[in-house]
């Protein structure tokens, strides 16, 4: 008997029991749909994280003073290292070709006051390149001028969160706020930027010239951080290596001593986050895989019942000339078709929900063509795998006994 006759017989049998066919494919349907949606969620959240990392500054390399260690899931600076200076920043800018911009940086949580309002905010000192490197854009006003930096002027650019906390609805431009008993004039307002990878609010910020910060606020010579922008993504690794060499030389570190600074590039952060999101993806795919297995067992149960119920039919077919192989094919095709129906509807549901949630909901989901491809194979595999046993069982029935069964 040829393939199409077997397929036809299987299709007819399934059509005769539409509800049962649908119910038995339901497990696969849900399994496949959840695999697709879960993978899309995983990919989406990974993309979100990558966007956040990219938003922290394109081709960013951060030089932190001291050793950074992971504590409680976040990177924290250990110890108090005083070796990183503005001179380091200048040398990085001047001597390394792969570097486009450099911004030395120092920050501290302090209280800022305006009239009767006061709020704690991050007072940061840096150069105007800071905004270029970290991707801060001005909503209104201007950056500091050369003269502001030279004369350590008391001017500030304010982030949106700080505006809300201190000014409320009032326009901050041109106003004077007090930090550390010193008046600062607001000359610019940053566009909102959202949270960084550590969940810290990047708009909770009052940026002042580094010279002002160093001389008037803290009176120190060292800085805690240097932001560097590499000229391209390909150059990040090379630039990092050169910065390391330069800083070791500048800090007169002998070979037996550890770095007294820590370099974290955009690539490092991406790797770090990828690890977590990949783990998450594996986890949810595993759970979805279990639901597929359950779906397969559903098919197995239905097929076994079907064989039992159709024992006489098997006997009739055998009597008129069906071989064991014909019977195996008939039942195997049935379970394969159930698998494909479940898989097909599952793909439709999964893709539909993914697109729907992206379109109408506030979700970032990314459809992975690989997951659809894998899902198709999975449903065929499950339909086949869990259909083999019932099909063989059906073919092993003794024709005479099958005919006389009540």
């Amino acid at each position: 008997m040829n393939f199409f006759s077997s397929l036809g017989i299987a299709l007819k049998a399934l059509l005769a029991h539409k509800t049962r066919t649908f119910l038995s494919s339901l497990g696969i349907l849900i399994g496949i749909a959840s695999v697709i949606i879960m993978v899309a969620i995983g990919k989406g959240s990974q993309q979100e994280v990558m966007d956040v990392i990219a938003g922290m500054g394109e081709n960013l390399i951060t030089v932190n003073a001291g050793e950074m260690k992971r504590r409680g899931g976040r990177l924290r600076l250990t110890g108090n290292v005083t070796t990183l200076t503005v001179r380091d920043a200048n040398r990085i800018m001047d001597e390394i070709g792969e570097v486009e911009n450099v911004a030395p940086f120092e920050e501290k949580r302090m209280v800022a006051k305006f009239g009767n309002n006061s709020a704690e905010t991050t007072i940061a000192g840096s150069t105007s390149d800071f905004s270029v490197i970290r991707g801060y854009r001005l909503q209104s006003g201007d950056f500091f001028s050369e003269r502001d930096a030279k004369t350590a002027n008391r001017v500030a650019i304010i982030g949106m969160t700080t505006v809300k906390n201190i000014f409320g609805e009032e326009d901050p431009m041109g106003q004077v706020i007090k930090v550390h008993f010193m008046p600062f004039k607001i000359i610019g307002v940053f566009e909102p930027k959202g949270v960084d990878t550590n969940g810290l609010d990047q708009d909770d910020l009052l940026l002042i010239p580094l010279s002002t910060y160093m001389r008037r606020i803290v009176n120190q010579k060292f800085i805690s951080r240097i932001f560097v922008k590499a000229s391209s993504r390909q150059n990040i690794a090379k630039a990092s290596e050169k910065i390391r060499e330069l800083l070791r030389e500048n800090h007169k570190l002998t070979d037996d001593r550890n770095d007294d600074f820590t370099l974290i590039s955009q690539l490092d952060m991406e790797d770090l986050k990828k690890e977590t999101t990949e783990l998450f993806t594996k986890l949810i795919v595993g759970v979805a895989g279990i639901s597929l297995l359950v779906g397969g067992i559903g098919i197995l149960a239905v097929m076994l019942i079907s064989v039992k119920e159709r024992t006489r039919e098997i006997g009739i077919r055998r009597a008129v000339g069906a071989t064991r192989r014909d019977i195996v094919h008939q039942f195997l095709y049935e379970s394969l078709i159930i698998g494909f129906i479940g898989g097909g509807l599952g793909i439709v549901l999964g893709v539909g929900l993914t697109l729907g949630l992206t379109h109408w909901g506030d979700w970032t989901l990314i459809l992975d063509p690989n997951s659809i491809w894998t899902a198709s194979w999975a449903c065929a595999g499950i339909g086949g795998l869990f259909g083999v046993f019932p099909a063989i069982k059906a073919s092993k029935l003794d024709p005479m006994e099958a005919l006389t069964i009540e």
Binding site: R317, R318, A319, V320, G321, R324, R325, M400, L403
Partner: protein
Amino acid sequence: MNLIEMNSICKSYRNIGFETRVLEDVTLHIEEGDYVGIVGPSGAGKSTLMAIMGCLAQPTSGEYILDGEPIGKLNDRKLSRVRNEKIGFVFQAFHLLPGVTALENVILPLVYARGSQGNVKERARELLAKVGLEHRLHHTPGQLSGGEQQRVTIARSLINNPRIILADEPTGNLDSKNGIETMKTFDNLVKEGKTIVLITHDQEVARHAGRIISILDGQIASDREVSHEEQTRSV
């Protein structure tokens, strides 16, 4: 020439240590064109004998040669082909596929036949017309009476143009009118040259045959020709 040749056929079933012997040393020969009735009380082994004759079961020992071909050595595929090409079954319980039309039920053996079968629907239609069911082509077994179902079964048994028709209590589930109709159909088939083996416990029915073999406790008790007078008496 012997179409069916059974030599010392034994059949036993093993059931948790117990061995039940159903057929013991059965030897019988049936020639082409014969009309043979096999009679005996229930449990005598008639149905097992038919199962072996119809290649639905293999004997435990002994030799079965069908149309010159020793059956004992055939694998499942070849055995299925023999059933498909040489044997037509008519069962007491009809054994039609439920939910499938009379036409498709008749075609069923051709689904498993080798090679191209030409216009199968036309042949099935002709056969159904022959048994008087041309107006019932698209009815499912549930919509047909017992007599009609049996006639569909007979049409199905003929579609592959087999050498032998094996009928197991074909009138068992029918009223006397339909029973007589069915037997007339068989009588006509014999006239067309078919070999018919009829299994029954009803002596009246058996008298249609030209030869009656009695089975008792798994063995042949008697094997005799039916006289013409006997046959006419039964009609």
